[in-house]
């Protein structure tokens, strides 16, 4: 396997890891007000993410950094081209991280409500926009060779808002909400768990419809029927059905494995449809960014391969261990004085 292909695969792996992990973070964030009846519930819900969300987000930073190192032309064209959507995602991630850390510092109801709204919106925007962005990449966007000889994005912001891309956004949004609900049903006890399971089934059906239409559209959009993409699309659908069936039967661990498997195969489908291109141009194959014209030198790729081969298993090991350490379910009854913020002095405690 060539170095370029190896790095194409590694970057796919990073995005898969990111979407599986931060996917449920986004889902849990969006569902915060819908699975909680009171303050103890809300804090229990957020506590399931507490120890892990930051580590999950690092997958994105590494995907970004690895793209910069391995395919600088891809990094440059993608992020300067998809400028405003990426900006909205960044703003959301900023607000979201701070909201997690700060919302329970004070007990004041208004303080917490504002942060809760921030958490819902800042989880929803990236969950939607990542789908829009990836669908656009697969569909192809206007790319052209500039006077300096670089392949640059020449569309505007509204080029990115086509029906196929928007459907892609609905897919990631609904899949992440379902994935988050399944995660919550696995990680919480009591009523939150029951509510989360019900939501997983409902939103899961919407997601199934959106994903099947999107995959059909994707297969028809390709210049020729691609056997691998067809098979992968089927696996996506089957895995999702299995995930929902397991949710229905109350087998939450299996449900989570299948919803994670769905995200894995879904992202793989998109990357297979792309390969060996990294950003196809809608203005002609001559302007496609591919693993060859976008890549770094073999030397850089080799150096990065050594680093990735040593570090990735290590990271998986200790990050996996974190999930094992925090394997116990969180229940609302474990939150003492839920209305009290750590920074409240006695007189500031909220009375409800």
């Amino acid at each position: 396997m060539s170095l370029e292909t190896t790095w194409f695969l590694l970057i796919a792996v990073l995005w898969i890891g990111y979407f599986i992990l931060e996917g449920f973070d986004f889902g849990v964030g969006i569902l915060l007000p819908f699975v909680s009846k009171n303050e103890a519930d809300r804090r229990a819900v957020l506590t399931t993410l507490g120890p892990v969300w930051d580590g999950n987000e690092v997958w994105l930073l590494v995907a970004g950094g690895a793209t910069f190192a391995a395919f600088p032309e891809w990094y440059a064209t993608l992020f300067s081209g998809f400028y405003l959507p990426l900006f909205l995602i960044l703003i959301s991630l900023i607000v979201r991280g701070v909201a997690f850390e700060y919302r329970s510092k004070y007990g004041k109801a208004q303080w917490r409500q504002r942060w809760d709204i921030a958490i819902v919106i800042s989880s929803l925007i990236p969950a939607l926009l990542w789908g829009v962005a990836f669908a656009n990449i697969v569909r192809g966007v206007p790319l052209e060779k500039s006077a300096e000889g670089h392949i640059e994005y020449v569309g505007g912001f509204f080029n990115l808002l086509n029906p196929y891309a928007l459907l892609g956004g609905v897919v990631t949004l609904s899949v992440f909400i379902t994935h988050g609900a399944i995660f919550l049903s696995l990680k919480t006890a009591g009523e939150i768990r029951v509510r989360a399971r019900a939501i997983a089934l409902k939103v899961g059906l919407v997601a199934a419809l959106a994903a099947v239409s999107f995959l059909l559209w994707t297969n028809m959009m390709l210049p020729a029927i691609d056997g691998v993409v067809v098979v992968l699309s089927l696996v996506v659908a089957l895995s999702w059905v299995a995930g929902l069936a397991m949710t229905l039967r109350g087998r939450e661990g299996w449900a989570f494995i299948f919803s994670a498997g769905t995200i894995l195969t879904f992202v793989s489908t998109l990357f297979f449809a792309l390969y060996p291109r990294v950003m196809p141009s809608s203005l002609g194959a001559a302007f496609d960014l591919t693993i060859r014209n976008a890549s770094s030198t073999p030397y850089t790729l080799k150096v990065m391969t050594v680093v990735a081969v040593i570090m990735t298993p290590l990271v998986l090991l200790y990050q996996g261990w974190t999930y094992w350490v925090f394997r116990k379910r969180v229940s609302a009854s474990q939150i003492t004085n839920p209305e009290r913020g750590v920074l409240d002095t006695a007189s500031h405690i909220l009375h409800q």
Binding site: T47, G50, F87, I91, V98, T300, M304, Q319
Partner: protein, 467 residues
């Protein structure tokens, strides 16, 4: 304004802002780890109180440091895509390594530390904060190596056909003396900043007569940390100045507003230049000090701005190779001045604490209120100096900043994002400072020693830490 100017402003705003939080994070992570180690070793509850109290402050600060760091990872692609295409083969590697080696370590083990009080045995919990602190250190190393390559590119060839720089030796990039000198200058500065925070807050608690049992040792820790790190900062700062004179003579000349090449060059204490910036009209100097600082010899020759400009025109073609002199000149001085002032406060505090005394005097309160801000100002001016005085280059001698900007991003887009980032960062700073002041006002909470938890904890006991 053009997209170029706006992109430069945006980079300046987001990066200076981000780097207010970075040194506090690096410095405090190690100091809090030290406090927890003291508790682990001695079982004295005052050290547990210190760990939790300063840990709280550390985390409030860390949150903003993390989220503003995300912007840094993508900003090169968004606003500086031509730069990214030119340097990606080299510059991307340390960035990717930073993520894979440092960010994962830092974030995962910090998560374990924050939520692990009742889930991890004490020993593993202590190891978590040390690993998180190590992550901050590694992160600094990789990003400083990337920056050092912009100051002094090594281990590369230029591929004319592809119009980019290509990596030939990662070892050279990661171990060149510019990278090492910068690392050993920046890290003690971060530790110095963390020390100043802890010292100032502890002194405030002492002034308010709150938990003196805890605040006295933490004040001492902060002040001693500052003294020791300041010594390292001075030594490596001196070394960095010599490297700078050798590699970027224009930067040194700009720092000193030295217009004409001089031996026995004086250190300028005050310079006022003409508006066109080619001649100074008023100067107060100390003879020979600059020559010594730059070359290690009082008779050493230091090249002046006007000669260097001519030299660069011959090497790189016509153009303006002179950076903004007032920014360089004042940035350099304010970096040293603010740092030295904080050092002086720390020395005074320590002097008063000898033989079991407590710091006192009318100067103490205003000094301690200003103390956390002094290193922050010193850090910021240091970076503003070293980055602005490299201009017009983005990578010295290879690519100019004006050639690095994104070709397809409009001025309107950059302006819009810059306004939103600035407003959002402003609001976050306001909230952050409010929380920090509240923690300080509340003072350390009562803590009780507790049993060593089992790995994984319990699923019925109340949680020690919940969001």
């Amino acid at each position: 304004m053009q997209a170029l100017d706006l992109a430069r402003w945006q980079f300046a705003i987001t990066t200076v802002y981000h780097f207010l939080f970075v040194p506090i994070t690096i410095g405090m992570s190690f100091l809090v780890a030290g406090m927890q180690t003291a508790w682990y070793r001695t079982n004295k509850v005052k050290y547990l109180r210190a760990t939790k109290f300063f840990g709280k402050l550390f985390l409030i600060n860390f949150a903003i440091g993390v989220v503003t760091g995300i912007v840094q990872e993508f900003q090169f692609g968004m606003n500086w895509s031509s730069y990214s295409r030119f340097v990606g083969d080299i510059f991307g590697a340390p960035l990717a390594m930073e993520g894979l080696i440092a960010f994962f370590l830092e974030s995962t083990f910090l998560g374990l530390w924050i939520f692990g009080w009742d889930r991890l045995p004490k020993k593993i919990h202590l190891a978590s904060i040390w690993l998180a602190a190590t992550g901050t250190l590694l992160s600094a190393y990789f990003i400083l190596a990337a920056n050092a390559w912009m100051q002094h590119p090594v281990g590369y060839v230029i591929n004319v056909e592809k119009g980019r720089a290509e990596l030939t030796s990662i070892v050279e990039v990661l171990t060149q003396k510019t990278a090492l000198a910068t690392f050993f200058h920046t890290i003690p500065s971060a530790i110095f900043t963390g020390g100043a925070f802890i010292a100032a807050i502890s002194a405030w608690l002492i002034i308010k007569k709150k938990d003196i049992e805890m605040a006295r040792p933490t004040l001492k820790l902060g002040a001693v940390t500052m003294i020791l790190s300041f010594i390292v900062i001075s030594v490596t700062g001196d070394y960095t100045a010599k490297i700078m004179t050798e590699q970027q003579p224009m930067k040194m000349a700009a720092a000193e507003a030295l217009y004409e090449t001089t031996s026995n060059a004086p250190l300028s204490l005050l310079t006022i230049g003409t508006l066109d910036g080619t001649r100074s009209v008023f100067q107060i100097d100390v003879p020979s000090v600059l020559s010594f600082m730059a070359t290690g010899d009082v008779d050493g020759t230091v090249k002046g701005i006007n000669d260097l400009q001519k030299e660069y025109e011959q090497t790189y073609g016509p153009g303006d190779y002179t950076p903004n002199i007032p920014i360089a000149y004042w940035g350099f001085r304010l970096m040293i001045g603010f740092g030295a002032l904080a050092f002086l406060f720390a020395a005074l505090v320590l002097w008063q604490m000898r033989k079991g005394g407590l710091p006192h005097g009318r100067w103490l309160l205003p000094a301690m209120i200003s103390m956390p801000f002094l290193p922050l100002l010193a850090n910021s001016f240091g970076w503003i100096f070293t980055e602005s005085a490299r201009q017009p280059w983005a990578v010295f001698g290879l690519i100019k900043t004006e050639d690095g900007v994104s070709a397809v991003v409009s001025a309107g887009s950059v302006l819009f994002t810059m306004i939103v980032f600035t407003l959002l960062y402003g609001v976050l700073a306001f909230i952050e400072i409010g929380l920090v002041l509240k923690v300080i006002k509340n003072g350390p909470a009562t803590e009780l020693d507790y049993e060593d938890p089992q790995l994984g904890g319990s699923d019925s006991k109340p949680l020690v830490m919940a969001y």
